[in-house]
Symmetry: C2
Subunit: 465 residues, 2 copies
């Protein structure tokens, strides 16, 4: 193919306006090819329950297993629940490229078996290690060579970040952003979107998927600030500036966070699923006796557009939607974000910084003691304080592992009457401090990362009106 062919493809592959995006998206929704049917865990092909441990796994030994997570205090077992164990590290990779001075991201329309409503916008590459090595016999995901090959582009982000500590055992994925100098050949599932437009789409329910959100949050600031330099006096814009005066130095923030890890009196470990009391496979689903927590379903997937044409797999279905609220408040002319140190049994490093309020239905957190449980009046029961709601959207968690897992994400701005001195599990930080910490793993949990991306949307793609 000649040079003009590539240029022609580039023109097609760039969507500059919401209207262009909508047209392409309707087309993609029309091309849906995935059908999902619940067949029950015992009927899953190539999956089996280990007769000794009760663990649910793939016959290849790859992908993931459903095992037990046991929590101990002073050496005694105190709580257990099932957990998804996926030790392999996958790649969540976003290609970026400057077009007329504006960074554009190469996104993909991707169907996942757990999605509630058709395809969602995924990063350029979303590949488990089993994908790379083609354990399930499919083809190698397109564009992977830009992230793991020799001669790849300029690496802007490359960091392991955690996923849901309530459902996963120490899961991390490799969040990557790579800059390429020019066009790359793409098919109809891929399009370049301007970074501001991609952020604006974070206001649409169940559109931008979890993997895209976490990668966007990790994007370093010069790329992320985009073309809004004119608004540099706005407290929120200033919050994203590395030199903005912060209420706490980063050294103090790190010290507070280190101390919070020492508050945990429990430790968690993997145990055989058969040893998790009160859970059983009933009616083809792994459920707890009181049907209060999540269930693990056995699904059959038929698809035309993915690596292979069909497969069976378990998916975790939560009992209802979760909630995550970020409280923001200007402090001396700089917007600060209220984070909390939040332990989750399945996190690799026990505690990460979470949104101001985070609630997951069904989860037993009874062993999480003081000072973590000392909350802020008005924030303890899921309803945000009464300031203006700057962002309010329902977004889906990872559709490859979770079935219709929805979280309502809100950003609420409070005024100067909101207290600055808060219980020990809470801290104010600037957006730049949090973005700086995202160069490293183990700091912000996946819900906080989603909300940090939504916060940036307020700066680089402010809502109309």
């Amino acid at each position: 193919m000649g040079r003009s062919g590539l240029v022609a493809r580039r023109e097609e592959a760039v969507l500059s306006t919401p209207a262009e995006f909508r047209r392409w998206w309707e087309e993609r929704r029309g091309a849906r090819r995935m059908r999902v049917t619940e067949v029950g865990l015992h009927a899953l092909e190539r999956w089996h329950v280990d007769p000794v441990t009760g663990n649910l796994g793939h016959t290849s030994g790859r992908f993931f297993t459903v095992e037990g997570l046991g929590v101990r205090v002073a050496g005694a077992s105190r709580h257990a629940h099932p957990v998804i164990n996926q030790p392999e590290i996958g790649v969540l990779g976003l290609l970026v490229r400057d077009i007329d001075g504006v960074p554009h991201c190469l996104v993909q329309a991707k169907e996942e078996p757990g999605n509630i409503d058709g395809p969602q916008l995924s990063p350029t590459v979303q590949a488990t290690r089993s994908n790379h090595t083609r354990v399930h016999g499919g083809r190698r995901p397109p564009h992977l060579e830009h992230f793991v090959g020799p001669g790849r582009g300029e690496v802007l982000v490359d960091v392991l970040q955690s996923e849901q500590g309530g459902w996963f055992w120490r899961k991390r994925n490799r969040n990557m952003v790579v800059r390429v100098p020019g066009p790359v050949p793409v098919d109809d599932n891929f399009r370049w979107l301007p970074l501001p437009l991609l952020h604006a789409l974070l206001r649409v329910d169940n559109l931008v998927n979890m993997d895209t959100r976490t990668v966007l949050a990790c994007m370093p600031l010069p790329v992320g600030r985009g073309d809004r330099e004119s608004a540099a006096d706005d407290p929120l814009t200033r919050s994203f500036h590395p030199d903005a005066p912060a209420r706490h130095t980063t050294a103090d923030l790190l010290s507070w966070f280190t101390e919070a890890k020492t508050w945990c009196d429990w430790s968690a470990r993997l145990i055989p699923l058969a040893e998790v009391p009160g859970w059983s496979i009933t009616g083809g689903r792994l459920v707890d006796d009181r049907r209060r927590d999540f269930a693990v379903l056995g699904l059959r997937v038929e698809a035309g557009g993915r690596e292979i044409t069909g497969w069976d797999q378990p998916l975790l279905r939560p009992p209802g939607p979760g909630s995550a609220v970020l409280v923001i408040r200007p402090i001396e002319g700089v917007t600060h974000v209220l984070v909390q140190a939040r332990p989750e049994y399945g996190l690799l490093d026990t505690v990460e910084m979470a949104p101001s309020h985070q609630w997951l239905p069904g989860a037993d957190r009874s062993l999480i003691g003081d000072p973590f449980t000392v909350t802020i009046p008005g924030l303890g029961h899921g309803e945000p304080p009464g300031g203006p709601v700057r962002h309010d959207v329902v977004l889906s968690e990872e559709g490859g592992r979770f079935h219709e897992a929805l979280t309502r994400y809100r950003i609420v701005e409070v005024g100067e009457d909101f207290p600055l001195d808060l219980p020990p599990a809470f801290r104010w930080a600037t957006a730049a401090q949090l973005t700086g910490l995202l160069r490293h793993g183990h700091y912000l949990n996946v819900e906080a990362r989603t909300l940090l991306a939504c916060l940036r949307a307020l700066v680089i793609a402010p809502p109309a009106g």
Copy 2:
């Protein structure tokens, strides 16, 4: 006590010269009060072997346990060995204070049951959480209030760092440096040493203990550079400068390190000690059938000067001394350190940066595959390349858990004939880059931290001659 009393104590408690240090140290050695006798694991008071799991633990459920570590590849068990599991996070805290413009550190002469030759220099505080909460009925460690209390001094360092991944299960301690404005009352076991003198003592065999070394390595650079500004043109001094030109940007270094974590095809978990094949308690010791790896001994400790007057405990005894070598080389006028990405089964985050060469006797690393095993010619078998040896010392690992665990630490300088392009597990970094990463956990392993402290000694306390 009046103000003059405090001043008098301060004068006594400051040791400014090697001769003053030696005098105090001989006195401390004369005051040794710890006696250690091997009684065998089954005879240990308040420790027992769990009849179901075979794990060895304290009757309180506190301190630590000896359990099994199992390594799996693709879901199948492939290797196992015993491991020390200590989920509690302790404090390793060093107080610093400026006297006549020179930072001084408050160190302690501390006996530990595993020490090879009497007391060693420990940080101001070395306290497990069981110490704080006084599970063993002793008194609270002196000076702890400077690290965990309200109204503590200025926190310079507060970070969780790993310990030996070959022997511990995901052990971390809280490395802290706190600056106080003036004297604090101390007893005969404590003395203030100038930071350069403390670094010079890193050249004495088995004197500066592991906990002091790891805290020193984490100390931020302005404090650590001390009074040697005149030598700023020296390539090694420049290496500690944050703006020194580095062969790889920190972003590239982080990307390389993230990628190295994805090379691991195995995963590790705790298993019951009874399920570790080839190991048994024989003759009162936990040993492997071929007596090639470490042994766990059961010891009785009698002591007058510690929290309580006696206790029993297991200690891990390695089969022989280990070796850790740091290769350094000037690159364009800045000394660079050669680190390797090294997986250890017991590390929380799988891989950390290790010295250029690290060897632990007895350890089975057969599941550590390529590219980790592709070593550098001349570095593969423990003998460093032939450049000048800048540092050569035998130091002890943690005497509270290990019995006579010695490591020979060397820093070897190579010239411009040493290759710059190396196998994928290796990278050149400046001392400032590595010190910057030590603001965070999970980056440098404990052996690399010891060698980074020794490297700083070459700058702030150059050897005579």
